[in-house]
């Protein structure tokens, strides 16, 4: 029995570039920036002042009063994005749907607030009702609760590759016939401690994120959420739903090298990308574009350049990094970038890597620099690397372009 094809039938976004995927796509293609001075906490003592904060998000606009009472910002953004995705998919019943969400920490802000109260006012001042709210497991269960999905729920903590992990695990569930519909995505918020920690790792740029630029100085943290509705081809057909894209095979691997830095020869990342291509039943020649992880750190961009060279040989495949505009949204990054991939498939335009000024001879990728590029893109890859040596690559394609899933993806 062959595996099931997996269609994406809806997507939703809460981002620094806009709420809703139309606004997001328009801003990305226009080369706008979502980076601004940090407003949610004082950065004076931290020594860095910029982030991709989502200033426009108004939880009350899409959440009920009960939801507002029980949901933190991280889950609230996820629920908002999920509602948009479900509306676009025109899905009316989700009873048997699984819910899979990626994140680094879930609601890290709630946890820092609890700890701060403890430090400043003593343990007795910490409210039990707030303690009960803390758990990163709740990201998936609360999305499920809010949208009425009653199947399996999973929160996958895969740091900055969490979005791709969620998409990949969700895809396998459907491909293997274990679920027909999955609400899948990722969400992340910026907490002061994490912001300061990245500064202490010497990983944070003082002003802009400049992926693949010779003068890149590191990441700018961002936040946001992106959620998709994915379903089996048969399920979509039966209810007359229109696929936006196909979610192809995905690859993952672990560097087993260093807890914060990628492998200098990018071995794990190369394996993950080759795996995604092989599991989509295609050759590297079929890939039209790669949405890079592109964090703007020295090591990441070098590693990804090696990946491009090793996987595609002499062929120059266009590359872009959404992080120049969104900042590094950590666990949510590859889910938000997944929505950018949908934008590219739909518009046949690749969003630009903004802030690019000085070419780096060691990062000689075909970068879509500063201005969006028109390109024929049928099949693309979404790349992610993360702390812990995590690598994950997903494949997005126009519906019907990929060959049928293969025996290696056998449905049980």
């Amino acid at each position: 029995m062959s595996a099931h094809r997996v269609w994406i039938t809806g997507a939703g976004v809460v981002s620094a570039l806009g709420i809703g995927r139309k606004a997001f796509g328009r801003a990305l293609l226009a080369g706008e920036t979502g980076i601004s001075r940090v407003r949610s906490f004082d950065t004076e003592r931290i020594g860095r002042h910029y982030a991709g904060e989502v200033h426009q998000f108004d939880a009350a606009a899409s959440l009920t009063r009960d939801e507002l009472a029980r949901l933190d910002r991280c889950a609230a953004m996820a629920v908002t994005a999920a509602r948009e995705a479900i509306e676009e998919a025109r899905l009316t019943s989700l009873t048997h749907a699984a819910t899979i969400m990626g994140t680094t920490m879930g609601d890290a802000v709630l946890l820092s607030d609890l700890e701060a109260t403890w430090v400043q006012h003593g343990l007795d001042a910490v409210k039990p009702v707030d303690v009960k709210r803390y758990s990163c497991s709740r990201l998936a269960t609360e999305v499920a609760r809010s949208v009425g999905a009653r199947g399996t729920t999973l929160t996958l903590n895969a740091a900055c590759a969490a979005g791709n992990y969620a998409l990949g695990v969700a895809r396998d569930l459907i491909a293997r016939g274990k679920a027909e519909v999955v609400v899948v995505g990722a969400s992340e918020v910026i907490a002061p401690l994490q912001y300061a920690g990245f500064v202490r790792l010497a990983a944070m740029s003082p002003d802009l994120c400049r992926p693949f630029d010779a003068n890149r100085q590191g990441i700018i943290l961002g936040e946001g959420a992106a959620v998709f509705v994915i379903e089996s081809e048969a399920h979509a057909e039966a209810r007359g739903a229109t696929p936006l894209a196909e979610l192809g095979g995905w690859g993952l691997s672990c560097d087993a090298y260093h807890v914060t830095r990628p492998h200098p020869e990018a071995t794990g990342s190369i394996n993950a990308m080759r795996d995604a291509i092989a599991r989509s039943n295609i050759d590297p020649t079929a890939i039209d574009f790669v949405n890079a992880h592109g964090t703007g750190t020295k090591y990441n961009d070098l590693a990804e350049t090696i990946v491009m060279r090793e996987v595609f040989g002499g062929r120059r495949v266009p590359v872009t990094s959404n992080k120049s505009a969104l900042g590094h949204c950590m666990g949510a990054a590859s889910a938000l970038e997944g929505v950018s991939c949908l934008v590219t498939l739909e518009t046949q335009m690749i969003p630009p890597t903004i802030n690019y000024e000085t070419p780096d001879g060691d990062c000689d990728v075909d970068l879509v620099a500063n201005v969006a590029r028109a390109a024929k893109v049928d099949i693309l890859l979404n790349n992610a690397l993360a702390f812990g040596g995590y690598n994950a690559v997903t494949c997005f394609a126009k519906p019907g372009v990929l060959p049928p899933p293969s025996a290696i993806e056998e449905a049980s």
Binding site: L111, E115, A158, R176
Partner: protein, 375 residues
């Protein structure tokens, strides 16, 4: 494709390593300790892994910047590799790094590092945050370290679904093996006791006996285990998981109907009926309120099945609870001590249902078949 358990590694209050744990699980439960006596600020009981000395398993080097959870993970991971014969004494035997993966469930990750670094951040200066310690605030770091220490390169995954996480991780491992992403996966859960966790439980008044430990299983396809001549301790037959909520607008949500649905799905997936179950290894025994809800679901579907409460031995181990339950089942192949039984008795249970109730509306169940001990 059927998956089999070919070994396990465990660090807990009951015992460290498969033999020690087995011996402990066949005796009487060791008393829990008062949290205040263990150095925590809470009026509750805890089950710390008091005898755990990471240096015994990991050596002296490289431990300084690791938190307790990571040390539990690394020790259990090494013990699981050794017990399964995949890797022993720092050398891969009939397994290899490229085709072996690692999956960890953790319910409350990074609390130790966040607790400590928030204090540096607030009371001192952000510039005193130790960059070697900062990665410990990232929830997949313990699993990442497991790959760095042992070389698991096929895949590395961290999952957080609270108390059902151990079984959810196992279900993920089955999927990764079935899709040919790894030949063997070391999979399970770990959570550590920490000031924030214990104080938090104390504040909620939940009367949960917080336990500490890591329970990791070596999982592989039946064919792979046979090809390398590995012992097959148990076979995984099916999984089920579900979520349900009532109108009550609370963060914590215990749902017996989610567990009933999960049990029915697991039995269906395994192709068996309630009458085939010799023993239910439940999540009972460490959280009174959750026990009532879990029992309601079990009683509705399996009112007569012998029922064990392994958490009487090691407390609520959160993200590790599911694989702790499976390790308990492995320890009880030749019979379950009366002290572990809530009702009924069984001498040589073969077909087992493992149940776990989440705190957030979720529940997962799993069916396994135990194999007779090889002589």
């Amino acid at each position: 494709m059927k998956c089999v358990i070919t070994g396990y590694g465990i660090v807990s209050r009951v015992g460290i390593g498969a033999r020690d744990f087995e011996r402990g699980m066949q005796g009487e439960p060791v008393a829990f300790v008062r949290a205040t006596d263990a150095g925590y600020e809470a009026d509750t009981l805890v089950a710390p892994a008091s005898n755990f000395d990471p240096k015994v398993y990991l050596g002296e080097k490289g431990l300084r910047s690791l938190d307790q959870q990571t040390k539990l993970v690394l020790a259990a991971s090494r013990l699981a590799l050794h017990d399964s014969g995949l890797k022993q004494d720092e050398a891969w035997r009939n397994g290899d790094a490229e085709t072996t993966g690692f999956i960890l469930s953790t319910a409350y990750p990074s609390l130790e590092a966040i607790h400590e670094l928030v204090r540096v951040f607030l009371l001192e200066e952000p510039r005193y945050i130790n960059p070697n310690q900062f990665p410990n605030t990232v929830s997949n770091t313990p699993a990442g370290y497991a790959s760095i220490w042992e070389g698991y390169r096929a895949l590395n995954v961290t999952v957080s679904t609270g108390n059902t996480g151990g079984l959810d991780a196992l279900c993920l491992a089955e999927s990764f093996l079935a899709t040919g992403r790894a030949k063997a996966i070391v999979v399970g859960g770990a959570d550590s006791l920490s000031p924030a966790l214990v104080a938090g439980i104390g504040l909620t008044g939940a009367q949960i006996v917080a336990g500490e430990g890591a329970a990791l299983l070596a999982l592989e396809s039946e064919a792979n285990a046979a090809a390398r001549g590995a012992r097959q301790l148990a076979t995984i037959l099916g999984f089920g998981s579900s979520t349900a909520f009532t109108d009550e607008n609370s963060a914590v949500h215990l749902s017996s109907s989610a567990l009933s649905a999960a049990i029915e799905l697991a039995l269906e997936d395994a192709g068996i009926s309630v009458n085939d179950i010799d023993l239910v290894v439940s999540g009972l025994g460490a959280h009174q309120k959750a026990d009532i809800v879990e029992l309601e679901a079990i009683d509705a579907l399996l009112p007569n099945a012998p029922l064990a409460a392994p958490k009487r031995y090691f407390g609520e181990t959160f993200g590790a609870a599911g694989t702790f339950a499976i390790a308990s089942a492995l320890a009880w192949r030749d019979g379950v001590p009366a002290a572990a039984m809530l009702r009924g008795a069984t001498s040589q249970p073969r077909m087992l249902l493992i149940t776990s109730l989440g705190l957030y509306g979720n529940a997962t169940a799993c069916v396994i078949r135990l194999n007779a001990r090889e002589s």
